[in-house]
């Protein structure tokens, strides 16, 4: 036979088993306390001594864990599954959007300050700062920010969902954690399309895992964003304005000497000034917005109609080629083969275009326009500007499941 429980232990065990919000748990315990007092008084009036009356009253309520569990279930019946799921989703969306906005505002402020400081450092030290806030370092920053945000959400959300659906934090944490892991994984893997690289492809899936782990050790009460005083808000505003101004000023002052370069394209053809037939007009290689619309095209018009026949007899193909390059000491070296080629037969007017390739690891490229003579000679009409291939864009599923 188990040891008799005292009233406090009995009530603690009920509280431990009842899956309700703290305020409701308090009411349940208060009702049971008054019942125990009444029942004990009744048994005392019937002739039992104080201790026996108390034990009789406690035993009449049965097993505390069963009682707590049944009380929780009794109060959950009205809260239908759909309402609970809807409430949880509402909490997640509202709180998620607010905290995401907060995180990105803070990140923007930090980036502005960092940009200002980095440019100042490059000015003083002469170091090259290009790429510090883009490429891999930006991806690392994004992954860190995303994982922290997911962890914060996983830590804070169970208490909000519990309040919304009238359950205890302990009672909802596993459901919130697994629900978040599944929902966020679906979003990240199949819906969220972004500029992707290896760091993001490996780091972003860690976000939902961080959410789950944090949800299993959640905040026990609803957390809110820290409120700052008017003086604190003013200081933050001044810091952002100063950083923005500093970054802008430093950018104006910056003289990035790394941008000039000279190219030697003799390995892929002869220069156009050696070809007497080229009296027409050609557009330079036109890059689209490489970040947004990676289009590339070039055109050529044989200006003198009397030369068209000779031109067509001399040349066979008009080509636009995108070559991978390396730049060492401002000298451009072309790679072994073009990444992309578009070609059209020679005519009096020619236009050729292609989509700029976007390999998983962006490379520096140079686009060139070439006329190929019928004897195989290649005449380089227009060595285009240097640029980087646009970032690979897509979902995690595309990244990991499509051919490389």
């Amino acid at each position: 036979m188990p040891d008799p429980l005292d009233r406090a232990t009995f009530l603690l065990r009920v509280a431990d088993a009842v899956d309700l919000q703290p305020a409701e748990v308090g009411e349940v315990l208060e009702e049971l306390t008054s019942h125990l007092s009444d029942a004990a008084a009744g048994w005392r009036a019937a002739g039992l001594d104080v201790d026996d009356a108390e034990q009789r009253a406690i035993r009449s309520l049965g097993d505390p864990a069963t009682l707590g569990h049944e009380l929780g279930r009794a109060r959950h019946r009205r809260r239908h599954l759909l309402a609970a799921v809807g409430g949880a989703a509402f909490s997640a969306l509202g709180f998620g959007a607010a905290s995401l906005a907060m995180v990105w505002l803070l990140a923007a402020a930090v980036v502005l300050c960092a940009l200002s400081a980095l440019i100042a450092i490059t000015q003083v030290t002469g170091m090259s700062g290009s790429g510090w806030l883009t490429g891999p370092s930006a991806s690392v920053g994004t992954v860190v920010l995303a994982v922290l945000w997911f962890a914060w959400m996983g830590w804070a959300l169970p208490a909000r969902v519990a309040r919304r659906v009238g359950r205890s934090v302990r009672g909802v944490r596993l459901a919130v954690g697994i629900g978040g892991l599944v929902a966020w994984s679906v979003v990240l893997w199949t819906l969220y399309s972004t500029d992707m690289d290896w760091i993001l492809a490996i780091g972003l899936p860690l976000g939902p895992v961080a959410f789950l782990l944090a949800a299993l050790r959640p905040a026990t009460s609803v957390t809110t964003f820290p409120r700052t005083t008017a003086r604190g808000r003013l200081a933050l505003l001044l810091a952002v304005v100063a950083a923005t101004t500093g970054a802008g000023f430093a950018t104006v002052q910056a003289n990035d000497s790394s941008s000039w370069w000279s190219g030697d394209v003799s390995s892929i053809g002869v220069a156009s000034d050696t070809e007497p037939l080229l009296a027409g007009s050609g557009s330079p290689v036109n890059w689209g917005d490489v970040q947004g619309g990676p289009g590339l095209f070039a055109s050529y018009v044989v200006g003198d109609p009397s030369r068209v026949a000779a031109f067509e007899q001399r040349f066979s193909t008009f080509r636009l080629e995108v070559w991978p390059v390396t730049v060492v000491d401002h000298q451009v070296n072309l790679g072994p083969a073009p990444l992309a080629v578009a070609a059209t037969p020679v005519a009096s007017e020619m236009v050729v275009g292609l989509d700029v390739p976007s390999p998983r690891s962006p490379v520096q490229v140079e686009a060139v326009v070439v006329l190929v003579a019928r004897d195989g000679t290649r005449v380089v009409l227009d060595p285009g500007g240097l640029d980087r291939t646009p970032p690979w864009k897509g979902t995690l599923l595309d990244w990991w499941c499509t051919s490389r």
Binding site: H35, S60, G62, R77
Partner: protein, 117 residues
Amino acid sequence: MARDPLRTELMKGAMAYLVLSVLREGELYGYQIAVKIRERSDGAFLPSEGSLYPTLHRLETEGGLEAVWRAGDRGPRRRWYRITPTGHAKLAALEEEWAAFSSAVHRVAARREPSGA
């Protein structure tokens, strides 16, 4: 105190009916409900108070009862329960169901097949 398991199971099934029945006459709090059931049954029903409170809360969440906290003249405040129109309708349905059930039980128990048939 040993309890008859059959009676305990029957009590669980009938608890909502008993609770609504005693509350038909006016507001009561949990302990009073338990006492009233015990007294009216001449001690035949000793409601497990562990199943009384889940039943009260379940009836409340279903809309059959309303509950309100009131401070007592002496001692702690108590949660008083009152039957609602929904509760009255539920009680009527339970009465009908119980009457049909008990009648059927009696008919089965009283029936004797003719011997040698």
